[in-house]
Symmetry: C2
Subunit: 338 residues, 2 copies
């Protein structure tokens, strides 16, 4: 791993849950055979509700107090929250330093560590402050998933399922045959699912890094999902749980628009249920909460909310603001109280 | 101007001193002939001591509360502090939105608005958090200098003098003949000095945007100067005042190393005195304050402090860590108490 380290100084950014499990191993891997490297670490509180400016400042404080210079390397050791925050810190510290991702959750291994989106939440919306900043490398060790809680495991599968729905029908069908193996952490099944997910993501991001269009399709279910995360309270639901319910809503809306067959609606509900993921938003979400939070989504352009919706046979989607508002309203009413 | 505006929404970021003078005019210029554009504004407190994360959050709050989307444009209306903060906010808001600079001080017109360096201060050091982010355009109106306080005027001239010293001897000689005209705000002299400064800066930045080497030479006097700003307290001295004293220190050190003639030392002191700029640091600065603050400078690499020093005939400099430590110590002792 050390050949990806720039300079002699490393800052590992991790959290209270991951540090006792993997921090020592990571420091060992960074310094073994490389005695000139010195490693600092900063241990942040765990969870989406700490993905904010106050926590980010702890990373800057540690880096500056340790007198890390521009030739240093920041290492994100943890899930998506750690990767997003460490990446944004690396993008901003001294206007940009080297950055390595070591994702330890399915969510981070299949999605958030790949593609260079970094950032923090604002109290009014998710990921509103950040940068596009690519890691020097992403180091995936599926053994880290052995210590992952079941709920986190399922959360990551929501993103795996997403890739099948938006662009890879064959992968979705494989998932329908292997979802229980994934939940049981079968190593071969996990390795295949992670590799296939990363290939899908890399393919999309390489065509549209800054999300002018195509990349947005990776956000199937995320606009509804972000509204759930923001409205219900950061960290109450895991990101993938919110995305699962959001995916059901996007699929419902696609069906109301007449863009997909009912069979797809059923298959999506079925696989998410088998993955032990929620298929409806929390009961406290209202139509007006969805609407007001979705109005600040990054995919709004000149006042128009654009959504990722399925259209055509399984594995096809569109990113569009050109849809009947009635369908959106009907979906919101069907899934939340008015 | 409005052809540089992206989308229909603009956020003008300015401060309490500039807003009463130029905010209405700017809004008028942005909307005249362009009735679809709507303009929001956020007025920040004035001064370097507010160039921090708390103030930056006010920009994000305003942008999010106004529901500005990715197609919006941020406009920096003010001096270097406003430009640096607005630029970093534009780089980070929704992971990057369009950005226009309207600099209203000499400092910003000749230096900080050009080249894409943005950022905020940390209590332990200047500009340690930020991004390289280029503005869509920089709009200079020298009429705004008519309302600039004399101290701010002189502060900007420190950067004008810098260009002469590091790479443009002919420009330095012109300044020796025109420094009083500049202080008196002679329009032709100002226009020439601003144009020639921007040309010098653009030439350097176009060769080395991310400061791998050459661009660092624009920081003549800045390492000592940043130590003064951080140690003496942000905003006690203006940036250019600290740079002026820092330039004298860098020139003194260059002479101690035997790299320049005494005549250059005298000419630098003379022109800075005529520009009514300080040529020594504040009396409260100590050798150890300089050393501890300079140790976190962005130009430190693998523990070694690199400095911009003059070497050879007027108009030549080097960026190097290869110098006799004794000369640095002697300069620090000569200019501050131990």
């Amino acid at each position: 791993m050390y050949r990806h380290v720039h300079g002699k100084r490393v800052l590992v950014v991790t959290n209270e849950r991951v540090a006792p499990l993997y921090l020592d191993k990571t420091i060992d891997a960074l310094t073994r055979g490389n005695p000139n490297v010195t490693v600092e670490s900063v241990i942040l509180p765990d969870g989406e509700k700490y993905k904010n400016m106050d926590t980010l400042m702890k990373v800057f404080d540690k880096a500056i107090e340790s007198r890390l210079d521009r030739r240093c390397t920041f290492v994100a050791l943890g899930g998506g929250v750690i990767g997003d925050m460490c990446g944004y810190a690396a993008a901003s510290y001294l206007r940009g330093v080297n950055f390595i991702q070591i994702p330890t959750t399915v969510m981070a291994q299949v999605d958030s560590s790949v593609g260079g989106k970094t950032g923090i939440n604002h109290r009014l919306g998710k990921n509103l402050i950040g940068a596009f900043y690519q890691p020097q490398c992403v180091l995936v060790d599926t053994d880290t998933l052995n210590t992952l809680p079941d709920r986190e495991m399922a959360s990551g599968l929501a993103e795996v399922i997403k890739y099948g729905l938006i662009r890879d029908a064959e992968f979705f069908e494989w998932q329908e045959n292997n979802i229980e193996a994934l939940l049981a952490r079968d190593p071969a099944a996990l390795a295949f699912a992670i590799k296939r997910s990363c290939e899908n993501k890399a393919d999309v991001v390489s065509q549209d890094e800054k999300e002018s269009g195509l990349r947005a399709t990776l956000n199937l279910g995320h606009t509804f999902g972000h509204a759930i995360e923001t409205g219900f309270g950061y960290g109450e639901w895991l990101h993938g749980e919110a995305v699962a319910a959001g995916t059901v809503m996007a699929v419902d809306m696609s069906y109301r628009l007449g863009w997909i067959d009912e069979s797809i609606v059923k298959r999506v509900n079925k696989i998410l249920e088998r993955a032990k993921l929620p298929t409806t938003p929390p009961k406290s979400m209202t139509v007006s909460m969805f609407k007001s939070i979705m109005a600040v989504d990054k995919k709004v352009a000149d006042g128009l909310l654009r959504l990722i919706l399925l259209k055509g046979p399984l594995g096809n989607c569109v990113f569009t603001g050109d849809y009947d508002r009635e369908a959106l309203d009907a979906t919101l009413r069907a899934f939340s109280k008015s």
